[in-house]
Subunit: 300 residues, 2 copies
């Protein structure tokens, strides 16, 4: 009999490690270049790439928002195939919830803040379904965008807390040629809204410039981001905040890996964006994301 | 590219199915014949048997109870080895909780009732750590005793809700030669308490006789069980209740798989026991458990 003390050791003792490395890209569907970037990152690092499409009802706190969420699996399948996805997992509602789910996974400590307060139940809904996907598919790695910074913190934490044997791989935000972060919701912007929506990212980039020039005060960065949104016509800013990347707690000085997050409503479309502030040995490096050279598929 | 619609299909597409069948027996340690029965069931049905020992702080609502819980890994290792366990997983606190856990798994709908109300937080603590063990070890089957009926309902449900690819295997309660259900807590009974403690199981067995004679009224079965406990000196009955085995909701008539659960305090030791009432095509079969022929190791 062998005595083990870690999960990894235990699994190694149980199974022969001949499996291929599997990467999972969990999505809500309606793919754009942001999803493609996730799939391409998985492709580079995995023997087999699985992507999932499921519009998770648990993470929508408003029924209308859930129903309005765009769906087009055939279109997604074409994009995913071209991006190198090997297996596209599209569970129907009966596979995901053959009976009304009673189990909830929650991380109250990471579900608050300005974003969590505006979306009651959202992060618990995300945590529950992400746990289900990771537990059920058992990938070796899973890919999440930095665009959803609080979600990334939450998923990274639940994987550690629940000993899920998967590495969470963050992927940089993909932006339109003018900086607007890609989002399925962008398709719902009017042309005037589209023009104004760039104020979220332009404020963040101005804040990045300030960081590069040595600024470390969260209040100053917040003011730069808020001002850009406030000046744009038809944009109703909700918040700008600097928070630690791991604990999502508001900070006053950029002295760790953190992010400057913003949210605003443009017309009737709620948008979020953020600027990661990577931190290494006292140096701060803003992650401006990956900028497309021409308008994304949404506008073609 | 292949399109899949179920977790099982997705895993099959990802991995070659050459793994051995692994059975997990999660325990708090201080093994007795009840644990041995779990290990033996796993041994019969698995290529490799893993047992875990971890005194889970999250499921103890009283710190004193946690500290009083008996621990003896060397003794357990000998018993587990003899029972055919291949891998004994004994994580230390830093492997289980290298940082204070923020994530909670909860099933409020299955965590109430007379047992849940007396142990606030207990079932969420169980759900969290069982999820962690199943997610981290990735067994094909996991073995749980019928003695903890509400825990069994909870674990069965969370595995379905979270799509954990594991079969939960219930194992019949092991009883002393006189009927007392085995429990690590029995070692703490005084000799007078030991004699009185049999009243929990003797009431259940009298209720089983009534069921065999055609009784289907929950109220009558509850009365039989309560009366036996009330008549025993030094026994303070807490409750007797008949509940559905899946939803743990109190029922009035035995018309489904259910259990008659009892709890009482004997001296300063809190004991629980139950009688499963298996149900098939209108017939009810009480599960009286497995009776030892001689006193268990606790008394040797």
């Amino acid at each position: 009999m062998r005595l083990t003390t870690t999960f990894a050791e235990t699994r190694a003792a149980m199974r022969t490690a001949t499996d291929r490395i599997a990467g999972l890209v969990p999505t809500l569907g309606y793919w754009h270049e942001g999803h493609v970037a996730l799939a391409e990152a998985a492709r580079r690092e995995s023997d087999v790439v699985v992507a999932s499409i499921f519009v998770n009802p648990l993470q929508f706190n408003q029924q209308a928002d859930l129903e309005a969420y765009p769906r087009d699996v055939d279109r997604d399948a074409g994009i995913a195939d071209a991006a190198g996805v090997d297996v596209l997992f599209v569970p129907d509602a009966s596979e995901m919830f053959s009976e009304p789910p009673m189990t909830r996974v929650s991380i109250d400590a990471l579900s608050g803040g300005p974003e969590g307060e505006r979306r009651p139940g959202h992060f618990s809904g995300v945590a529950t379904v992400v746990t289900k996907l990771l537990a059920g598919v058992q990938p070796d790695r899973a890919y999440f965008g930095r665009k959803d910074a609080q979600q990334l913190a939450l998923v990274s934490r639940l994987v550690r807390d629940l000993s899920l044997p998967v590495e969470i791989q963050p992927v940089a935000t993909v932006r339109e040629f003018d900086g607007l972060a890609l989002s399925s919701r962008n398709a719902r912007l009017t042309s005037g809204g589209r023009a104004a929506a760039v104020s979220l990212s332009s404020g963040l980039m101005r804040a990045a410039d300030a960081v590069d020039a040595g600024e470390r005060s969260a209040a100053v960065l917040v003011e730069i981001a808020m001002e850009a949104m406030e000046r744009a016509p038809g944009v109703r800013p909700e918040y700008a905040v600097v928070a630690g990347a791991d604990d999502v707690q508001e900070i006053e000085t950029v002295d760790r890996v953190s992010f400057l997050a913003v949210a605003a409503t443009v017309g009737d479309v709620r948008l979020i964006d953020n600027l990661y502030l990577d931190f290494d040995e006292g140096r701060v490096a803003p992650d401006r994301g990956v900028w497309l050279q021409e308008p994304s598929a949404v506008y073609r």
